[in-house]
Every structure is written in structure tokens, then in C-alpha cells.
């Protein structure tokens, strides 16, 4: 990896760690973020349980997590810090996560053409390895707005 690539990945990481409301709320931990894909870990949090009876984390938390991770994979694959937007997101809820167990979200972008990035990924239970969610996302690259790399200055860097 050359210096420019390292710099680029740092920009992406800053964007996802500091520029996202949900990243703070759900305590995302970016484990990996390069052109091969992205991995984000999320700890269990009873504040986001489905109901008072069902303590597993709400499916909507998983949707938000996988959208973030798919976007990160699309962005790193594009090797550009131009803004992106989700065009389509499909989420299959295979089974609810077990209460108290942390989860891992793993995504990669397998194709980019004409500024459209295609990505797929899954969420697994970190304790028992159960597959919880499968998802596919389509992203438009180079949408309106300033470049992500400007965030570092705006948000105060790493």
C-alpha cells in the first residue's frame, strides 16, 4: 500500500467514525476497511432491544449496521472520497441475534461500473457464528455534496 492509499483509508475511517450519528450510538468498531472489504463489530446493547420481552437487538439496528458496512465497502473499492448514496438495499432477516451476544458485519463490493457500486454482506453472531442477516446494496458514486476527505478538517481529524 502506498502513502496515498493509506491516506485514503484514513479519510474513509474518519468519515465513518465521526461523520455518522449511528456509529456513535451503536458503538461501531471498524475492524477492517480496505479494497477487499469492510468489517464492523457492534456490541450488544439492551437499549436497542426488540421489546421488553424479547431482548434480542431490534432488526432495524442490523439494517442500519449493514447499510453502513456495505457503503464503506463500496467507497473503499471505488478508491475515491467522492460522496456516495444508497440506491437500493435488500435485507434478509435470517434469524434474530441472541440476547447479550455481539455481532460482526462483513461486506465487500464485487463490481463497480459507470459509477454504480454493487456490494453484498452478512451479519453473524460473534459468539456462536450463526448467520443472522444477508444483504445486498447498490450505491451511486459521485453524488451531490463535498468530498469526504474534507471531513478530516471539519471534524478535527483522527
Amino acid at each position: 500500500m502506498n502513502a496515498a492509499q493509506i491516506d485514503f483509508l484514513a479519510d474513509v475511517k474518519v468519515f465513518f467514525e465521526k461523520g455518522l450519528g449511528p456509529a456513535k450510538d451503536f458503538a461501531y468498531e471498524i475492524v477492517k476497511c480496505d479494497s477487499d472489504g469492510a468489517i464492523i463489530d457492534m456490541p450488544y446493547n439492551a437499549d436497542f432491544a426488540t421489546s421488553n420481552e424479547d431482548k434480542s437487538m431490534h432488526g432495524a439496528v442490523m439494517t442500519t449496521l449493514i447499510d453502513t458496512c456495505l457503503g464503506m465497502a463500496a467507497l473503499t473499492k471505488s478508491e475515491s472520497t467522492r460522496p456516495i448514496a444508497t440506491v437500493d438495499l435488500r435485507v434478509d432477516f435470517l434469524q434474530p441475534g441472541a440476547a447479550l451476544n455481539d455481532v460482526r458485519c462483513q461486506c465487500h463490493s464485487y463490481h463497480i461500473r459507470n459509477d454504480i457500486a454493487y456490494a453484498e454482506g452478512s451479519i453473524t453472531d460473534k459468539t456462536n457464528g450463526n448467520l443472522l442477516i444477508k444483504a445486498m446494496g447498490t450505491f451511486m458514486l459521485g453524488t451531490k455534496g463535498p468530498d469526504f476527505s474534507q471531513l478530516k478538517a471539519k471534524l478535527g481529524g483522527v
Binding site: 450519528g21 432491544a49 426488540t50 431490534h58 432495524a60 439494517t63 448514496a85 434478509d92
Partner: protein, 144 residues
């Protein structure tokens, strides 16, 4: 098409939201009006931001909102003794979002014995300009 009346009032739906730590934490609101039926509302807060530069709401948050709007609609129509659980959702993002509240309503397109299919739409300032639309499929089963 079979189209049951709402079994739950706005107050009872507020109780349903109160019972879900996730929905409560995000401050979900519901309104029932004669014209549109159930309208769900997600009040804007900084934690919903997905892009701090253009101040758009996170795509995953919008997807979650539509999923919950569909869930609220089906729950409101089937009453408290039925468990409703989404199993597949597909979201189309139609317009950019702004740092404002999200509103949503849902329409059931198929009532099945085991599953229900729903189209949910979200908007911000203008209901005629939806920001996102989702097709959600939800499993229904008797509680207990």
C-alpha cells in the same frame, strides 16, 4: 381485497412503542387520521445523520424507519395477539434526505395466512415527494 379495520388506537400503538426499547429510544411517534390512516414519525436528531457534510439522514436509518412503519401498520391492523416480524425488505432510495423529521405510511398489498406484504413510503416536507420506498414481507403468527 381483505382490508381489516385498525384494531389498535393511536394510544395503544404508543404503548407498543413504549414496550420496545429500540423504538422508544428513537422517539417514534404515531398518528391516526381518517385520510391517510396510520402515519409514523421519526423525530430528527443528530444521531440519525449519515453524512455530516450534506446533513442527510443515514440510509440505514431510513430503511429501518420504513421497516418499522410497515411493522406498525400490520400490528395496528392485526391487534395485540399477533407477532409480526419482518423477514425480507427491499428499499429504493428516491430523493436525498434533509435534517428534518421523517414521516411514513404503509399499505398492505397482500394479506396471507402466514405472511403479509407491505409497501411503505417515507417523506419529509412533501408527501408527494417520497424520499424512499420499501417493499417489506413480514411473518405473522399467534402470540404464545
Amino acid at each position: 381485497m381483505f382490508n381489516p379495520a385498525y384494531q389498535l388506537s393511536a394510544e395503544e400503538l404508543a404503548g407498543l412503542i413504549e414496550n420496545s426499547p429500540y423504538l422508544r429510544r428513537f422517539g417514534y411517534l404515531v398518528d391516526m387520521n381518517e385520510e391517510q390512516g396510520l402515519v409514523a414519525q421519526l423525530p430528527f436528531s443528530e444521531r440519525l445523520i449519515g453524512n455530516a457534510i450534506i446533513r442527510a439522514i443515514h440510509g440505514g436509518v431510513v430503511a429501518s424507519f420504513l421497516e418499522n412503519t410497515a411493522w406498525l401498520e400490520v400490528s395496528a391492523k392485526l391487534g395485540e395477539n399477533i407477532t409480526v416480524r419482518p423477514f425480507t425488505t427491499t428499499n429504493d432510495y428516491l430523493r436525498p434526505t434533509e435534517d428534518q423529521d421523517l414521516f411514513g405510511h404503509a399499505r398492505v398489498t397482500k394479506w396471507g395466512k402466514r405472511s403479509v406484504s407491505v409497501v411503505a413510503t417515507a417523506w419529509q416536507s412533501d408527501p408527494d415527494k417520497p424520499v424512499s420506498q420499501a417493499t417489506c414481507h413480514l411473518l405473522i403468527s399467534k402470540k404464545g
